[in-house]
C-alpha cells in the first residue's frame, strides 16, 4: 500500500492527529469518556495504521520489539508501584488519599499515574500483537 499516493499522504497527515487525540483521551478521562485503556488502543491504532501502509518493518524502525516488551512491563510496574506508595505511609494498598496534601489532590495524582501506566501497557501490548501477527511469513 506504500505505492498508493493518496493513502501515503493522508496517513502522514492523520497519524500525528491520532496520537494527539490519544493523549487527549488519556488525560481527560476524569472529565469525559476516556482513560488508560481507550487512549492506549487509540495510540496503538495510530501506530498500526502507519504499519499497515508502510510495512511492519517501519514500526520496528520506530520502536524495537525489545523496547515494546520493556514498555509493557514498565506500565504494569508503574501501576503496582503507585499502589505501594500508600503502604509506605501506613495506609492501605491503592489508597490515593495519601499521595497528596489533601484527599482531592491525592486522588487526582493517583488516578493520573495509574491511568498512565495502563495506557502505556495497553498501547505497547496492542502494537506487539500487531507486529507479532503481521510479522509472521507464510512458510
Amino acid at each position: 500500500m506504500r505505492d498508493n499516493p493518496v493513502l501515503r499522504v493522508v496517513t502522514k497527515i492523520i497519524v500525528p492527529v491520532i496520537f494527539l487525540f490519544a493523549l487527549y483521551v488519556q488525560f481527560h478521562g476524569d472529565y469525559g469518556p476516556g482513560g488508560g485503556f481507550q487512549a492506549g488502543v487509540i495510540f496503538a491504532a495510530g501506530l498500526i495504521l502507519y504499519g499497515l501502509i508502510f510495512g511492519t518493518e517501519s514500526i520496528r524502525c520506530l520502536i524495537s520489539t525489545r523496547f515494546l516488551r520493556a514498555l509493557i512491563a514498565a506500565g504494569l510496574l508503574l501501576f503496582a508501584s503507585v499502589g505501594f506508595l500508600p503502604l509506605l505511609m501506613g495506609r492501605n494498598y491503592l489508597d490515593y488519599d495519601a499521595l497528596g496534601q489533601n484527599p482531592l489532590s491525592g486522588q487526582h495524582l493517583g488516578i493520573f499515574l495509574v491511568e498512565l501506566g495502563v495506557g502505556i501497557t495497553v498501547a505497547a501490548v496492542m502494537v506487539t500483537i500487531f507486529v507479532a501477527f503481521a510479522g509472521r511469513r507464510d512458510s
Binding site: Y31, F37, I129, F133
Partner: protein
C-alpha cells in the same frame, strides 16, 4: 412493564443465543471466536442497559444536573471489554499457530489429522 418494554433483554437474549449457536455449530476456528465475541458483547449490553435510570443522563459530573445513570456497570464493563479483547487476541494467536502446525483452520480436518496419529 409489558413484554415489549423489556426490549433490551430480548436483544440480549437474541445476541447471546446467536453467539452461542455460532460457537457450537461452526466448524471453523475463527468463526468460533467471532461467536464468542458476540456472546460476550450481549453480556455487556445486559449490564449497561440495566444501569440506565429513567431520566438520568450520562454518568459524568456536570454543573446543574442531579440525576445520573448508574456509573458502576459502565466501569465493570470497561474491565469486561478488556478481558474480551484479550480473549479474542489469545484465541486468534492460537488459531495462527494452529494454521501453521496443521495447515488448516477447519475443526474436522484437524480432528482427522490427529486421529490418524
Amino acid at each position: 412493564m409489558n413484554v415489549f418494554g423489556l426490549y433490551n433483554y430480548w436483544i440480549v437474549i437474541f445476541l447471546m443465543m446467536t453467539g452461542f449457536y455460532v460457537v457450537i455449530s461452526s466448524g471453523n476456528l475463527v468463526k468460533k471466536i467471532v461467536g464468542l465475541s458476540l456472546f460476550q458483547a450481549s453480556v455487556f449490553i445486559l449490564y449497561i442497559s440495566l444501569g440506565k435510570i429513567t431520566g438520568g443522563t450520562v454518568p459524568i459530573l456536570r454543573e446543574g444536573i442531579t440525576l445520573y445513570s448508574n456509573p458502576l456497570p459502565h466501569v465493570l464493563i470497561l474491565t469486561a471489554i478488556v478481558v474480551g479483547v484479550s480473549t479474542t487476541a489469545l484465541g486468534l494467536a492460537l488459531v495462527v499457530r494452529i494454521k501453521e502446525a496443521y495447515d488448516t483452520v477447519e475443526e474436522d480436518e484437524i480432528h482427522q489429522q490427529d486421529e490418524s496419529l
